[in-house]
């Protein structure tokens, strides 16, 4: 790789010259610019379905991709499964590579890694004219209604779920006593919203005191260590554990078991992963809140597919459905049986029904 100063200088001057001669442009050359975008309709068989999540190594996201596969199969297509290991840059890299290919009739159902990852995905898809549904994370001031092919943004109301399980926890410990909170990845809207929910709940239940809060990054293993430490720190003052997701709640359960306190401390979480629902059913966990991975994996593709094939006109989507909270349920011992095996109903994905689970507009 010997490059002489002279040739390196040549490269430099050439690139500068190119800049001067050709000027700069917004868009890479050879592109098809803003393509179909709702006008031309696609053959159902020509639609390209892409589902992107963080990784396949956790149950929630695995069920998301499975849901996507199921929907794709129902319309005779296959889903391209992309995973980015929770790596924001890798996610962007994959998206821009996908968008550099054939974007006509492209439908993407994306789980952005964080709020900040959504704007570039949206801009890229908008420029390329690809149909996009995003879930969970987006900055508040970025609205699908302002874009043509960003069909919808789906999320669950984190403040509400955080508060619901907080209230359930308060009831479980009899309205008084100390609790500890396990936070998610601090840099995510989900973690912050859910914690706001907990704080709301604490205001409502003045007898409950928050002894400590630590980040365990949505991870079962980290939750285990943090909980063990907090248990020794606060000892028997801990009556309940509030976890921002079920993985951490399950880690906390293990910690309680190892500390010989299983059953003596109430634990709540969010997401309704199968293990947590089982735990709620057995009574080892107090409550969790449903979010339905396989539905999320299918619905995003379904909305996009309907729009691409012209069965759903973007203009026709109600403003409230362009960004919405999906239905969620508090799962306690009473209703845990119903959620033990989440079943996606193929009817949910029919073009007329895609917005059936809207609980309310995103505020």
């Amino acid at each position: 790789m010997n490059v002489t100063p002279r040739s390196a200088a040549a490269i430099l001057s050439l690139s500068l010259a190119a800049a001067v001669l050709a000027g700069c442009s917004e868009q890479a050359g050879g592109g098809n610019g803003t393509a179909a975008a709702g006008e031309a309709t696609c053959e159902p068989s020509k639609v390209r379905l892409v589902g992107q999540v963080r990784n396949e190594s956790n149950p929630y996201e695995a069920s998301w991709l499975a849901g996507g596969d199921e929907f794709a199969k129902s319309v005779g297509l296959t889903q391209e499964r992309l995973t980015y290991d929770g790596d924001s840059t890798k996610q962007q890299e994959q998206i821009s590579q996908i968008l550099a290919g054939d974007t006509k009739c492209l439908v993407m159902n994306v789980l952005p890694n964080g709020d900040s990852d959504t704007p570039p995905i949206v801009k890229g898809a908008d420029q390329a004219g690809a149909y996009l549904v995003t879930q969970w994370n987006k900055p508040a001031d970025l609205k699908p209604a302002d874009y043509k092919t960003w069909l919808s943004h789906i999320t669950y109301n984190g403040v509400e779920s955080g508060q619901q399980i907080g209230d359930a926890l308060a009831t479980a410990i009899g309205g008084t006593g100390g609790i500890i909170a396990l936070q998610g990845v601090l840099d995510t809207a989900a973690a912050k919203d859910r914690f706001v929910g907990l704080q709301n709940s604490l205001k409502k239940n003045p007898g409950v005191t928050l002894l400590d809060q630590q980040a365990a990054n949505f991870s079962r293993a980290e939750a285990l260590t943090v909980t063990k430490t907090l248990l020794t720190k606060h000892g028997d003052h801990v009556k309940g554990i509030w976890a921002a997701n079920d993985d951490m709640a399950l880690g906390a359960l293990e910690a309680l078991q190892q500390a010989g306190k299983a059953g003596k401390v109430a634990v709540v979480g969010i997401d309704a992963v199968p293990d947590a629902v089982t735990a709620v059913k057995n009574g080892t966990m107090t409550a969790t809140v449903s979010s339905d991975g396989s539905w999320q994996g299918g619905i995003g593709l379904a909305i996009g597919f309907c729009a691409a094939t012209g069965k759903l006109k973007v203009e026709d989507i109600a403003a409230a459905n362009r960004a919405f909270f999906a239905e969620q349920f508090l799962i306690t011992k009473d209703n845990a049986g119903e959620f033990a095996a989440p079943k996606t109903n193929p009817a949910d994905f029919e073009c007329g029904n895609v917005f059936n689970r809207v609980a309310g507009p995103l505020t």
């Binding site: 430099l12 840059t89 962007q92 996908i98």
Partner: protein
Amino acid sequence: MSTAVAMKPAQRLTGFMPLIALAALVAALTIADPDFLTQRSLIAVARTAAPLIVLAAGATLVVLCGGIDLSIAALASLSTVFLALWLPNLGGLATPAVIAVAAAIGAVQGVAHVLLRIPSFIVTLGGMAILSAVALVVSGAGTVRVVDDSPVHWLDLYLGGYVPMSAATALIVVAVIAVVLRVTPLRSWISATGYSESAARLAGTPVDLVKIGAFCVSGACAGLAAVMLVSRQFSGGPTMADNLLLPAVAAIVVGGTAITGGHGSVWRSLAGALVVTLLRVGLPIVGVPSAYEQILYGAIIVVAVALTLDRSKVSIVK
């Protein structure tokens, strides 16, 4: 003493190995998915690779000096936060300000390494943790959105409609570093420090300054990479670039730079960064399932390093 006396053609071949590995990878991806080799797709790869190229180029200097900089990714993350916070007030000045601050932070780590005599691995491992904490606190543990990205928008343009500006900038950075090294005594100083620090010192080489300088440039490059990331993401985040650390180190080694120091070049890291980017992006795009993608990634980088490392310069491989 040395057994490698006359192996000129073989040596020349190892010099081109990173390029050969790159070509082979492109060919393999194209065979796996004929749609992959399109102009647009290659342009996207170039644009994608830009931050990684810049990060790897800076860290290459530290590796050439015989050290390692594990803080580049965390520093880049912190820099995205700074940039996003400062853009509203400083506008166009925010970019040079962030690069300067990043360079200063890099230099501070260099000084700690040199003065306190702590291995660079430890200093930068600690630096990584500290910088991440600062980024979390400064950003309030959230992403900072950039509403008006016009001061960094130029990086998102395309030169002549084809060459992404960020890729061109990355290329210029690599070229500038390479040229500066080549035409000044720095090249000798850095290699001497990397091959044999004590000999370099006893020949009056300003070893300490060279090392601090390398960390400083590495920091500045992390800052520039952060600018590129912000121009691409329209925001700054305290963990935004964290996952680029191992790819950047992989890029350096895949390029054939010896991790023990002395032997290598920034051009090699450029090729290495492209290889790593193709692996990160290309494998899933051509339809390799996630689990197999990781297995392939692991296997391919090992093989790539086996191909590119010029072992005649490195006697014992640790």
